[in-house]
């Protein structure tokens, strides 16, 4: 995308004054909420919408494909299939019919997490509508992250919180699954509950971490840290430059030269 194109504000600026010598930008037609605009090719949907004059105060977050705020649906002419994308990731294509669904109302259960166990019934109690799933698979088709949403719902119905948590791990909570659900489930909230339960109640605790914290609290590293604190700036920089680093390719059995603190 050209820097010049990026600076333009809205469709009226397409009439560029000749003396500014803007490089030729190919414009392509796109329909945003049913209205036709011409936007430079190569833009993301989000930039295209901004180019067309939209200002995002919602429906736009990280612009990096991880926050889930810019869930978008579109169709191409002659194709019955509804496509989904994140507006910040998808490049605009000619004749797309686009609209954003930045938020979709979804039932979100209230719970006191401290009181929850790892039992499958925790999910059944908080989200009984889970059992309205008809396995139509519209959720999976609507997921911009390519998650097998229906499989994760199946896992929850089967009481397998760990599996639901694993399958849904890449979920960014955009809510497009929920917008398409025949059974009116809020899949993404259910998955969040599953991952919370999995992380706190099912996944084994990292015992080596607990041991390390204990060792730190017991003062195992106090001497070396105090020693470092006394070192002058130049010496400290030298120590830093000359420190031994674990090679990227190091295997499980790699050990540093100085093994005093292992």
């Amino acid at each position: 995308m050209s820097v010049k194109a990026k600076k333009r504000k809205g469709p009226t600026t397409t009439k560029v004054k000749e003396e500014r010598k803007v490089p030729e930008v190919k414009l392509i037609p796109v329909y945003i909420m049913g209205k036709r605009y011409e936007v430079p090719e190569g833009l993301t949907l989000m930039k295209a919408m901004e180019y067309a004059g939209y200002r995002f105060i919602r429906g736009c977050g990280c612009r990096g494909g991880t926050c889930g705020a810019c869930g978008t649906v579109y169709r191409k002419p002659g194709d019955y299939k509804l496509q989904v994308a994140l507006a910040c990731q998808k490049t605009v294509e000619p004749d797309m019919y686009v609209t954003q669904i930045p938020f979709f109302p979804a039932n979100r259960a209230q719970y006191e997490f401290a009181e929850l166990t790892s039992a499958p019934e925790e999910v059944f109690k908080l989200y009984p509508e889970l059992f309205r799933c008809v396995a139509c698979n519209a959720c999976t088709k609507a997921c911009p992250q390519g998650i097998q949403v229906m499989d994760a719902i199946s896992a929850l119905k089967q009481g397998n919180i760990a599996e639901a948590s694993r399958i849904s791990f890449e979920c960014i909570q955009c809510g497009l699954c929920t917008s398409r659900c025949f059974g009116e489930l809020a899949q993404y909230h259910m998955f969040q509950l599953a991952r919370r339960i999995y992380g706190a109640r099912i996944l084994p605790r990292a015992e080596h971490l607990a041991e390390m914290v204990k060792a730190i609290n017991e003062g195992k590293y106090d001497d070396i840290l105090n020693e470092l604190k006394r070192v002058k700036k130049d010496e400290l920089e030298k120590l830093y430059r000359e420190r031994e680093e674990e090679p990227v390719t190091a295997g499980e059995d790699w050990k540093p030269r100085d093994t005093t603190y292992l």
Partner: protein, 135 residues
Amino acid sequence: MSVTISSKRRGTEFVKKVKELSGENLHLCYQCGMCSGVCPAASNMDLSPRQVIELARLGMQNEIVKSKTVWICASCLACTVNCPRGFDLSRLMEAIRLLTLRRNVDHVKPEQIPPEERDDIPQIAMVSGLRKFTG
């Protein structure tokens, strides 16, 4: 029970819809009452299974819709396998339930099932119940 039948009250649209949804020929029934006899839930019903068929083919929509009968039916198919005329009453019951559910009127709200019951009830009960009682 007495029901006044008149051409004015007859819901022809209802009869048509019920036939369409159930795929059953309501005129097969000769009102022998076998269905009511074998139905394990008949004693709890305000309209007997046999009466449901009769009222349905007369188009008595109000009587049927305000009755609890179709919501008491558990689709156990005792009527289905015992009907001497090969009429599948379970399909008529389903059609009548759907006419209500498809107007976005649910018979059971999942969130109103007490949490301790949701904890205890096996998944098949929830799946089957919500399929029959929610739209």
